[in-house]
């Protein structure tokens, strides 16, 4: 698609005078698109009358690449899907492979997976809230949230040696056991993260300008959220009580005690604040995991070097920071998948943009995008 946008289209108004819409092209490289999305916005005065999202600027054909790789070689590719929360795609993919090939995962591995994924949830939400704050102009807030994220990344680095693309969750377990003192480090983190989150809450969500900017903007009704396939904080912000960890429980989540955070109004404020409160719950889960941590092996024994699941298909999903992230695999019995499909939550959430932005002003578009928290690696795949 060319970069040009169709220019102004004169339409005759009720009084017979021509109304000219101002077409503003936001993206593909724009500070508020959180990546390389593009939004063609038609403005009438300051009000958005149409918003047409154009995605695919990061379409890398990961699903096609997977068809020529073995099951283990695909794991690094899944890292690059949701690059803000790499652990999730790792895990969702590995769950599907395990289901397809009938691999049992040792308990210690499940606990380690839950710990890293909940840490990742905090890290990812910190990125989401920070970017949303930076979009509204509170740039310093972004650095404060990033500070929390950076501490989690340090923990991940000591766990698997990488800051961003972890390749940690593997079919049948995880790649490394926790190093010495790692759990103490995680406990130390969860101990004081609550205070840090409370500070962020009062600093950003307590600010009168923030309330004015976010409240009542881009209201999404619960019916719409369900019908449009929204999931994660976007759906929960609208009052849809739907969290796969609770309602389609997987792994060891049934043993954990936590609450599902649900918003009331479905506006941008509720969506963003849902993310913040979910971090408290994640910290709670991490503490429980560390308390219950069993011994034993961290990966399945006797796993073949080349996984070749029986022919058939399987789908499994997890609750990622952006919603239900699923992987659909079709196997033909060979060591390479016949077809891999990633059900991306951010893709479905972003489809709501054109609905949510209409009727608001241009500054609100930024707020809408921030509250949907898109990650284009996962949307475009």
């Amino acid at each position: 698609m060319s970069l040009e946008v169709e220019s102004r289209t004169p339409v005759l108004g009720e009084d017979g005078l021509p109304i000219e819409e101002l077409v503003v092209n936001v993206g593909p490289s724009h500070p508020s698109t959180h990546g390389v999305g593009r939004f063609i916005v038609h403005l009438d005065g300051d009000v958005i009358v149409r918003c047409d999202p154009v995605i695919g600027y990061l379409h890398r054909g990961i699903e096609k690449m997977a068809e020529n790789r073995t099951y283990l070689q695909i794991v690094p590719l899944t890292d690059r899907l949701d690059y803000v929360g790499s652990m999730y795609a790792n895990w969702a993919y590995c769950r599907t492979v395990e289901r397809l090939a009938g691999i049992r995962v040792p308990e210690r591995a499940e606990y380690l997976r839950v710990i890293v994924c909940e840490l990742q949830r905090i890290a990812s939400h910190m990125m989401g809230i920070g970017a949303a704050a930076a979009d509204t102009g509170a740039f310093s807030m972004f650095l404060y949230t990033f500070d929390v994220r950076e501490r989690i990344i340090e923990l991940f680095e000591s766990l698997c040696g990488s800051r961003l693309t972890y390749n940690y969750v593997r079919p049948g377990g995880v790649s490394f056991d926790a190093p010495e003192g790692w759990f103490e480090g995680v406990s130390a983190f969860t101990e004081n993260v609550d205070a840090q989150l409370a500070e962020l809450d009062s600093l950003f969500f307590g600010n009168v300008i923030t309330r004015g900017r976010l409240k009542g903007v881009a209201v999404l009704s619960a019916e719409d959220a369900v019908a449009w396939g929204a999931s994660g904080p976007v759906a929960r912000g609208s009052g849809v009580n739907w969290d796969l960890r609770k309602h389609d429980p997987y792994s060891i989540y049934p043993r954990m005690e936590f609450d599902v955070v649900v918003g009331d109004n479905g506006d941008a404020y509720d969506r963003d604040r849902c993310r913040l409160f979910e971090c408290y719950e994640s910290a709670k889960i991490i503490d429980q995991c560390i308390a219950q941590m069993p011994g034993g092996s961290f990966k399945a024994e006797g796993l073949p070097r080349l996984i070749a699941p029986p022919a058939g298909d399987a789908y499994d999903h997890i609750e990622s920071a952006r919603g239900s992230l699923g992987v659909y695999l079709v196997s033909d019995g060979s060591p390479r998948p016949y077809r891999m499909k990633v059900r991306s939550p951010a893709f479905c959430n972003l489809a709501l943009t054109s609905r949510l932005a209409v009727g608001h002003t241009l500054p609100d578009l930024v707020v809408v995008l921030g509250s949907l928290d898109p990650v284009f690696g996962e949307i475009d795949r």
């Binding site: 695919g56 379409h59 096609k64 449009w228 479905c348």
Partner: protein, 148 residues
């Protein structure tokens, strides 16, 4: 659950089986839209995933629907021929299908009858071919050497 789905098999010719945690409903392509309405009526209010699989001689459409009230998942599958593949769009049943069907059109070239906005979504509009088809041949693609 079973009695809910019985009408699908009697009226619409669906074959119902189970695989892992989900019901698999295989349905003739011409009855897809009616089956979708039926499923929504039963309580399957979420359309999670729309995708297709290139099976060689024909395509298989795969829909994954979820019901919160029944707390169950179902796969709806239907086969369509390879020549001029067309299947009815489910946008009017679940709006979530909108972008996902565009993605299937973009990568498989399967047309959706009744879709409000059928354009490519991920690739540029002038892109030749349908990349996820097994017979897609792009001279720019470098095949990965076989190490295993």
């Amino acid at each position: 659950m079973a009695h809910h789905l019985s009408r699908l098999s009697t009226d619409l010719g669906a074959r119902i089986s189970e695989r892992f945690d989900a019901v698999v409903i295989e349905i003739p392509a011409e009855n897809l839209l009616r089956a979708a309405y039926e499923l929504r009526e039963i309580g399957f209010d979420r359309l999670g995933m729309v995708t297709a699989v290139d099976l060689g001689e024909d395509f298989e459409m795969v829909y994954r629907v979820t019901s919160r009230s029944l707390s169950s998942n179902a796969f709806v599958k239907c086969r369509i021929g390879r020549v001029d593949p067309t299947v009815s769009s489910l946008c009017e049943v679940w709006p979530a299908a909108n972008w996902q069907e565009r993605e299937v059109w973009d990568l498989f070239g399967i047309d959706f009858a009744g879709h409000p906005d059928m354009r490519r979504i991920l690739l540029p509009e002038e892109w030749p071919g349908w990349p996820l088809r097994k017979d897609y041949d792009d001279p720019n693609v470098i095949r990965r050497p076989d190490y295993i």
